[in-house]
Subunit: 270 residues, 2 copies
């Protein structure tokens, strides 16, 4: 569909993208988290405040789009068919250099706002977001580690990272997690970025994701969807290095029933 080549995103690509998106995105601030222990200061990068939200089914319809629902395995062929029949431009959610560069602009913002950042935690699904963010951090704040975070139940990238090659998990396996935005798998393009720029990929359990959602809502006043909460879950529960940490909070399109359930569970255990 397009020629991805093997070129990695450069700082030139990222700064050009930053200039292109400037008028169309909210410049989110880094939010200091006073509830974090002093030895592990935490800033949240609240990308969930972008008004457009992520490419989610209900939110997309609300913006007036027609949504064609197909089984996960048919997504690429169905999209190609729509383009062929109606004309139009295929915008893949992660597997494109422009998407990587655009999402990576938030890495430039992190480096601008916290030049002595030591650890950046980023959700991983198809890998577009972490590819761009990691390229930006390694260019602008090279002493910082970048660690990807996945649900255990969709931990294909962690497996691939350790194996040094793309390991295939079935779509059924990846569909088990409540983090429905993190069920994709990296492409050759994004995996090449992950191998080059990312220091580690860790996983978090479903309960840890739910706990992070409750912490974000009650302590930081942010409603995150499960996919948006995994980096915070890793800060709270995974074995990651100490130091000045940024967790990217990347999506807030949560089903109100799930949010209610998460808050109820927290109340019951409090």
């Amino acid at each position: 569909m397009h020629n991805v080549g093997v070129n990695l995103t450069t700082i030139t690509d990222l700064t050009a993208a930053a200039a292109r998106v400037r008028d169309f995105v909210v410049r989110t601030p880094l939010l200091p988290s006073l509830w974090a222990p002093a030895a592990r200061p935490l800033w949240l990068k609240p990308e969930l405040l972008q008004p457009i939200g992520a490419f989610k089914i209900d939110a997309t319809r609300a913006h007036g789009a027609e949504v064609v629902v197909v089984p996960p395995a048919d997504r690429e062929s169905a999209a190609a068919q729509v383009v062929a029949e109606r004309g139009g431009t295929l915008v893949p959610p992660f597997d494109h250099p422009d998407v990587i560069a655009g999402q990576g602009t938030l890495g430039l913002e992190i480096a601008d706002d916290l030049p002595d950042v030591e650890l950046v935690l980023v959700p991983v699904s198809g890998g577009g977001l972490i590819s761009g963010v990691a390229a930006a951090i390694k260019a602008r704040a090279p002493r910082a580690k970048v660690i990807g975070v996945e649900p255990e139940l969709a931990g294909d990238t962690a497996d691939s990272f350790r194996a040094g090659r793309l390991v295939d998990w079935s779509t059924d396996d990846r569909a088990r997690t409540i983090a429905d935005g993190l069920r994709s798998t990296p492409s050759e393009l994004t995996f090449a970025h992950i191998q080059k720029f990312v220091d580690d990929v860790v996983t978090v359990s479903e309960d840890e994701i739910r706990d992070a959602m409750a912490v974000l809502a009650t302590r930081s006043h942010l409603v995150a969807e499960p996919s948006g909460a995994v980096a915070t879950a890793a800060y709270l529960h995974a074995d990651v290095p100490a130091g000045r940490t940024v967790a990217v909070v990347s999506g807030g399109n949560v089903d109100p029933a799930l949010l209610l359930d998460v808050l109820s569970a927290q109340r019951a255990s409090a």
Copy 2:
């Protein structure tokens, strides 16, 4: 305790305060609300993302402070006694020119980010926030109206605004609203600002406040306390002018049980 005089906050006071607070506060962005109708575009000013939160009892303890709990009517005398016995500096929550100027810096930010703003909705309690914001807006975006918002159950400022003089509501009356941050009453200093710079003061019901909390959580990914949600409630439910509107969302220290209750009620009525 301090000499308030009758001097109103000036643009010089506001810009000096902005320089002083710059390194200690988060520069919050204006958040476009895609769920708002096109004829009444809405931006949220999410001050609830300030990590320090408001002067709330539990959050203050969590920061390590000792909290002395006294009946509402004894607050000023008890504070004076603590200062007399232990030394220390009394920082009133609203009735001081420095507090007005500091809180007013967010009005400068609104004018910088949206110079053609037409309406700014601001919560009113003791009036410090709206005094500063209104002074800033009238200096920097003078075509915009500034409207204060109170709970109906603590609508003393709306009464005073219409009467042209401070009307006294009992602390018991003002304590009925769930918006526990909006139970104070303006001082002579803040009421002078309100009379000079504010175009109107409107009220919202308890149900309208709860509805706004649910809308902010589910549509804008923000957990607001009742006091922080009143300006959004006025946008949604009160008789305010159309036009390019900013609602200040000023506090997020909500009791998790109340948040749960608000979201449950919304689910039940959906």
